[in-house]
């Protein structure tokens, strides 16, 4: 019975593998099981080898090259063995919650802005270290992220993490200079002129291919900011301070004027019909193809070297320039001062391992200032960059250092960084950063329990779209607000915002 024996062998292997699977089932790890050097006063116990530190960060795991000079230098300088554990952006939050649920959090955690609910949950469940006693050990970090960085990380009054240094998102209107020249038009300076130009771009065949296949204006849904900003408000459901009082943009009397302005453009048929579904990549693509003549976007989506190259391949004369703020426009975008770029947090269990904790703090400081900072911004000195007088100039080999941003744990001083990294765009970045913006404070407001902000935002998004496109009349705007309050309990959120911002001292 050769046959039977064979079957037995097969069965055996299958059964053992079954056992293995069950053995791998998640075990409740004991946080106290981590090596626990006795706390010996101020001086932490020295152990033999380098201290290994693992950090969970969002990013593509393949982004780090095999020859990772940043890690080598950090390890050597700080006596650590630093490991970045990268997970794709979409999966990162999932992974964090699994790690949290199994009490297996790594030594440093990054939480992206869109996953903040994970941060709140972890903080409230007591998994994160309250950084308050360690603030004086985080001097360089504080220089980098500022006092606000730590304020933004507050949950229920305690500092469980800090936000990376703020980024600049300098959106604005950009316009095809060559199209203006071809049609003999001037750069628009008012909203009315902008509409005229947009009409001409739609109807007068600015690309000269004999077809009516162009549009005046394109962008993502965020284009609404440009139009509402012309009337002093901004995107729906943003909190800002007007005459010392907290205002939600939805309740700003200027909102109706803004809606009518945007409606005027949409009704004229000069706006990309896919405006509300475009993603930034679509806009980049449409700009390169000469699909429209005016774009509401930030420089990085339009005029990076590779985008310009692509655009010039299709039309060598193509030239996108920034449109200066229109007359009377109060702002062209908002800037959320409470906006969190990403939260950096340390798990509570490190409290029991002062040596490791100290190294983690040291690491955070090191990449925030001086040599360590330059290493993670630009690469190795005299290899990827060199000093010319006071300025840092990147060398030919800068391409090798394109992954170093993964080690910018505390962020970077955005303006200096961009000026050094993108010399050809430096002027445009400066110019677009100088456009007027409205300070908003949404980032500080945590939606109260029981208030379903997702449903409310969906309602706001859909209803506003109806107003913009003229499917709903502006006269019905107050009815919309009433049902927002009644059906979605919106007042609770407004009250929470008021309370929070008063607590932080932004509103009196």
């Amino acid at each position: 019975m050769n046959n039977k024996r064979w079957v037995r062998v097969l069965m055996g292997t299958m059964l053992t593998s079954g056992l293995l699977v069950s053995a791998c089932a998640p075990k409740a790890a004991d946080p106290a099981a981590t090596p626990e050097p006795a706390a010996k006063g101020a001086e932490p116990a020295k152990s033999a080898g380098p201290v290994s530190i693992t950090m969970a960060r969002a990013g593509s795991p393949s982004a780090i090259p095999k020859e990772d000079f940043v890690k080598k230098e950090l390890d050597a300088k700080l006596g650590i063995n630093f490991k970045l554990d990268l997970t794709d952006d979409k999966e990162h939050a999932n992974k964090l919650s699994v790690l949290a649920a199994s009490q297996n959090l790594p030594d440093l955690i990054e939480i992206k802005e869109k996953d903040l609910s994970v941060y709140y949950q972890m903080a409230r469940n007591g998994l994160l270290l309250d950084l308050t006693p360690y603030l004086d050990k985080l001097g360089s970090v504080k220089k980098q992220v500022g006092e606000e960085g730590f304020t933004k990380g507050k949950v229920d009054g305690k500092v469980f993490g800090f936000s990376q240094a703020p980024r600049i998102v300098p959106q604005g209107f950009w316009i095809r200079k060559d199209w203006l020249d071809k049609l003999g038009l001037k750069t628009p300076t008012t909203m009315d002129e902008l509409l005229e130009v947009a009409k001409a771009f739609t109807e007068k065949d600015p690309d000269g291919n004999g077809k009516k296949d162009t549009y005046g204006i394109s962008g993502t849904r965020e284009t609404e900011r440009g139009f509402l900003g012309a009337h002093g408000t901004t995107e729906p459901n943003k909190f800002y301070i007007q005459d010392g009082k907290l205002v939600n943009s939805l309740y700003d009397p200027n909102m109706k004027k803004g809606i009518e302005e945007f409606q005027r453009f949409l009704k004229a048929g000069v706006v990309d019909p896919e405006l509300f579904t475009n993603k930034v990549t679509d806009v980049t693509d449409k700009a390169a193809k000469g699909f429209a003549g005016i774009f509401y976007e930030q420089w990085a989506g339009l005029v990076r070297d590779e985008h310009v190259k692509k655009m010039k391949e299709i039309n060598p004369k193509a030239e996108l320039v920034l449109l200066p703020a229109l007359q009377g426009a109060k702002n062209v975008r908002f800037n959320d001062v409470g906006q969190i770029t990403a939260i950096i947090a340390i798990p509570k269990k490190l409290e029991k391992d002062p040596e490791k904790l100290n190294k983690v703090l040291e690491l955070l400081n090191y990449v925030s200032e001086g040599d360590g900072a330059n290493l993670v911004y630009y690469g190795q000195k005299d290899v990827h960059w060199k000093k010319e007088g006071d300025k840092i100039v990147l060398t030919e080999k800068k391409g090798e250092a394109s992954y170093t941003w993964l080690y910018q744990l505390t962020g970077r001083p955005e303006m200096d960084y961009l000026m050094t990294k993108f010399p050809p765009q430096a002027a445009l970045i400066k110019e677009s950063s100088a456009l007027p913006e409205l300070k908003v404070y949404n980032g500080f407001v945590i939606p109260p329990k029981g208030f379903n902000i997702t449903d409310a935002n969906r309602f706001i998004g859909e209803e506003m779209l109806k107003f913009y496109t003229g499917k709903a009349k502006v006269e019905d705007y107050d009815a919309f607000l009433a049902s927002l309050e009644k059906t979605f309990n919106f007042k609770v959120y407004l009250e929470e915002a008021d309370k929070t911002l008063k607590g932080l001292g932004y509103v009196k």
Binding site: G18, S22, S97, Q121, N125, G126, E274, T277, T454
Partner: protein
């Protein structure tokens, strides 16, 4: 086996039966060993995780774990949160409608395709077409969405280019509530038609060929044979597939809709699963997510058991 029981069933019928069952197990022990890994799989991956459903009645706390987390107060908190969402009725309607459309258009076309393949006498042609027809099944929804944009986009899509060049108005296939469900069902059909046909084809190949011969002798044409032999021959499979699909009536295709929907079409395309993803999982509200999951599973269970009973009453073989 039955015979063995019959012979010995003179005294102590129960004891005998038990003994003979044990004997039967011993005799076929190889089969039972082979059953074990399957059982283990179901226990580890299907039954044990069911205890997680208890989360539907808890306030999940990372540091405490599932069992030690405090009970929700009141116990139906997460369920009420779901039922009281202003969008509840819309979500349910969308889910059921999209699901029903997919049920109808996901069943009939594959049968037609299977019949066509079955009737195709040029073997190489049939093989080539069949292989091509089930290829889309292996594409991810992101890719299918990319393809549908290339064809259906309002400004750059191939169809709308044709429309505008021939003087017609462009049709916002992907951004209008009138068209979007058709696009959902259409892409779903395109993706899984060939794949769905495989099982019907397999069922057809087990129909006794002498039936066809007899019919041919009696002068039946091709259409008559399809109608009177092929279709009745696969009736059981059709019913079986329908019952299985009914269990998933409240899954209208999360992946597809999550990739394809946008602010214009939310009112006709937001389904229970996409809502749970946004409100439950993205907001770390695991209690809510499990409550809705439990709700869906219970309805699915009722539907499967009910339709199975109905199928049996109508004289078809059910699932069990």
């Amino acid at each position: 086996m039955e015979r063995a029981i019959d012979i010995r069933s003179t005294a102590h019928p129960q004891k005998k039966a038990a003994r003979s069952l044990w004997k039967a197990v011993l005799q076929h022990q190889m089969l039972y060993w082979m059953l074990l890994p399957g059982l283990a799989y179901f226990i580890v991956y299907r039954y044990v995780p069911m205890f997680g459903a208890v989360l539907a009645f808890k306030e999940f706390d990372f540091s405490l774990g599932i069992l030690a987390s405090p009970w929700a107060d009141p116990w139906h908190k997460h369920f009420t949160f779901f039922f009281e969402s202003p969008y509840f009725s819309q979500l349910l309607t969308n889910t059921l409608l999209i699901s029903l459309y997919k049920l109808v258009f996901g069943t009939i076309p594959p049968i037609i395709v299977a019949v066509l393949f079955n009737e195709c006498r040029t073997l190489w042609f049939r093989n080539v077409v069949q292989t091509l027809s089930f290829m889309p099944h292996f594409l991810s929804w992101v890719i299918v969405y990319g393809i549908s944009i290339a064809f259906l986009s309002e400004t750059t899509g191939l169809f709308n280019r044709w429309f505008t060049e021939s003087g017609l108005d462009p049709v916002p296939f992907l951004t209008s509530s009138e068209w979007f469900r058709s696009v959902l069902v259409g892409t779903d059909m395109w993706k899984d038609m060939g794949w769905g046909a495989i099982i019907y084809l397999a069922a057809m190949s087990s129909i006794d060929p002498t039936l066809y011969e007899a019919a041919r002798v009696d002068g039946a044409g091709r259409l008559r044979m399809i109608w009177s032999i092929t279709l009745p021959g696969i009736r059981n499979i059709i019913v079986l597939m329908l019952i299985l699909k009914l269990g998933h009536l409240l899954d209208a295709g999360f992946e597809q809709i999550y990739v394809m929907y946008n602010v214009h079409v939310m009112p006709v395309s937001d389904i229970i699963d996409t809502w749970v993803f946004r409100v439950g999982l993205e907001q770390m509200n695991f209690g809510l997510a499990s409550a809705v999951g439990l709700f869906k599973s219970l309805i699915g269970l009722v539907l499967v058991v009910g339709s199975n009973a109905l199928a049996k009453r109508w004289g078809d073989e059910g699932l069990w």
